[in-house]
Amino acid sequence: MAQILSPLPGTFYRKPAPDKPAFKSEGETVEVGEAIGLIEVMKSFIEVHADVSGKIVKFIVDNEEPVMAGQPLVEVA
């Protein structure tokens, strides 16, 4: 089991825009380098890219939740 960590503190978003579908859903596969969400930090939006590939087991952090740097966002198997 691997985890994708937040690179920065801020607010986690699962969608690229409010009216767009989520980057990834639980059960989908993810490749290294693919975006899995956004972190809003100081009014900037920074994409979070997967550094592992596999199947997304679970989003540990909900949409629009505050996160710390290094906090696990996603579990990948």
Partner: protein, 460 residues
């Protein structure tokens, strides 16, 4: 109308700035803050503090009912909104007044009228203030827009009626691509502001951003001269000056008189700013919008006029008439402000929140540092990246540039990356020294620096 207990519904350096002015007027300062700002300098400095909710601005600094509850609970008699957040929210201004409190700023009605860009443009025209050639008010549909664009002449800018911060703006160079740009701008405006209304403006390629500070008491209005804010990145101001090098005394007089005409026409109350585009090639200026609040860059005006804008605005809110006649306002020397952000210019201005492990403020003659910093403070990821404003004054612009470099050398901020070195480089740049810039100059300068750095890396 008088009040002695002031609630500050904002954060960061501007909250500190407002407290200083309020203290000098003998007021008690009550700092509203989010959970993330419990240890902020503004909270530490205030007479009293009140928690208004979680870190997210939507749940705290933008939460009207939480702020009104905090005001009631603390016995506040007036609320200062600062800049950003609720400062230009007419419904908030109305709600504050309806609760029997003083809103430090203009009436909700004025905010409403000036906040809609198309309405503000119409008000400017009615007051005889030149506006950028463009559509009169909102554009109903694509065929009307096409016809208007053809009449204005390309290149044109498509802008959101309810807009701000550069969102919902598209530049169209020729008739080709107009339709898709119009649709995109409408969608973006709808998403960002809940209002897809658009209008058109002529696009001026080499324009300076020059703005005029006004002060009004609801009866009389005066100006406090102009600021030049042409150095921008992504339509965010980076470096501001007063006065502008571009204006002749005659042009300055005409520009400032036009600002007073518009402020007077709307019986403006408080501190406000009229933003203009100035076309170097023709010497024409065009009104673009009015900001109905104190601005980030107000200190450069304070330095060249000696007027404490924040204190004067508080006095006016408390019912006093303007303390100055126009003839009392004199322009003296030159001031420059550098915005110090917690961002890394070497890494695409990536935000750099975190703990400040060491800090030393610049000081000495003609040097002012408005900041939220103290040693050990946390720079929060939840708010914008502005951590300080370094403002210098000297008799001449060359002197001010020299002083800016000296003051930047004194500034120490450890633990987070800042834009201080970028300002040092700007202060040494030949084009900046000549003042020969326009609103797109800084982005070109930044990308040429980036290219240079990249080619050096390749060679190494």
């Amino acid at each position: 109308m008088g009040f002695s207990r002031l609630l500050i519904a904002n954060r960061g350096e501007i909250a500190v700035r407002i407290q200083r002015a309020a203290r000098e007027l003998g007021m008690t300062t009550i700092q509203a803050h989010s959970a993330a700002d419990a240890d902020s300098l503004a909270v530490k400095m205030a007479d009293e503090a009140v928690n208004i909710g979680p870190p997210h601005a939507a749940k705290s600094y933008l939460n009207i009912s939480a702020i009104l509850d905090a005001a009631a609970a603390t016995g506040a008699q007036a609320i200062h909104p600062g800049y950003g957040f609720l400062s230009e929210n007419a419904a908030f201004a109305d709600a504050v007044e309806a609760a029997g409190l003083v809103f430090v700023g203009p009436e909700g009605e004025t905010i409403r009228a000036m906040g809609d860009k198309a309405a503000a443009r119409a008000a400017a025209r009615a007051a005889g203030v030149p506006v950028v050639p463009g559509s009169e008010g909102r554009i109903a549909d694509l065929p009307t827009a096409r016809a208007a664009a053809a009449e204005i002449g390309y290149p044109v800018m498509i802008k959101a009626s309810a807009g701000g911060g550069g969102r919902g703006i598209r530049v169209v160079e020729t008739g080709e691509g107009f339709e898709s740009a119009f649709d995109q701008a409408s969608v973006e405006a709808k998403a960002a502001f809940g209002d897809g209304g658009l209008y058109l403006e002529k696009f001026i390629a080499r324009a300076r951003h020059i703005e005029v500070q006004v002060l009004g008491d609801g009866r009389d209005a005066i100006h406090c001269f102009e600021r030049e804010c042409s150095l921008q990145r992504r339509r965010q101001k980076v470096w501001e000056e007063a006065p502008s090098l571009a204006l002749s005394p005659r042009a300055r007089e005409a520009l400032c008189a036009s600002a007073v005409a518009l402020a007077s026409a709307v019986n403006y109350r408080g501190a406000g700013t009229l933003e203009y585009l100035y076309d170097d090639a023709t010497g024409h200026f065009y009104f673009i919008e009015m900001n109905t609040r104190i601005q980030v860059e107000h200190p450069v005006t304070e330095m060249v006029t000696g007027i404490d804008l924040v204190r004067e605005t508080l006095r006016i809110a408390a019912g006093a008439p303007l303390a100055y006649r126009q003839s009392d306002v004199r322009l003296n020397g030159h001031a420059i402000e550098a915005r110090i952000n917690a961002e890394d210019p070497a890494d695409k201005f990536r935000p750099s929140p975190g703990a400040v492990t060491d800090y030393r403020a610049p000081g000495g003659p003609g040097t002012r540092f408005d900041t939220l910093l103290y040693r050990g403070c946390q720079i929060s990821p939840f708010y914008d990246s502005l951590i300080g404003k370094l403002i210098v004054w000297d008799e001449t612009r060359d002197g001010a540039l020299q002083r800016m470099r000296r003051a930047l050398d004194e500034l120490i901020v450890e633990g987070v990356v800042t834009t201080a070195q970028l300002h040092h480089d700007l202060a040494e740049d030949e084009t900046v020294r000549k003042g020969d810039f326009h609103t797109r100059w800084l982005e070109d300068w930044l990308s040429s620096r980036e290219n240079l750095a990249a080619s050096r890396r390749r060679q190494a």
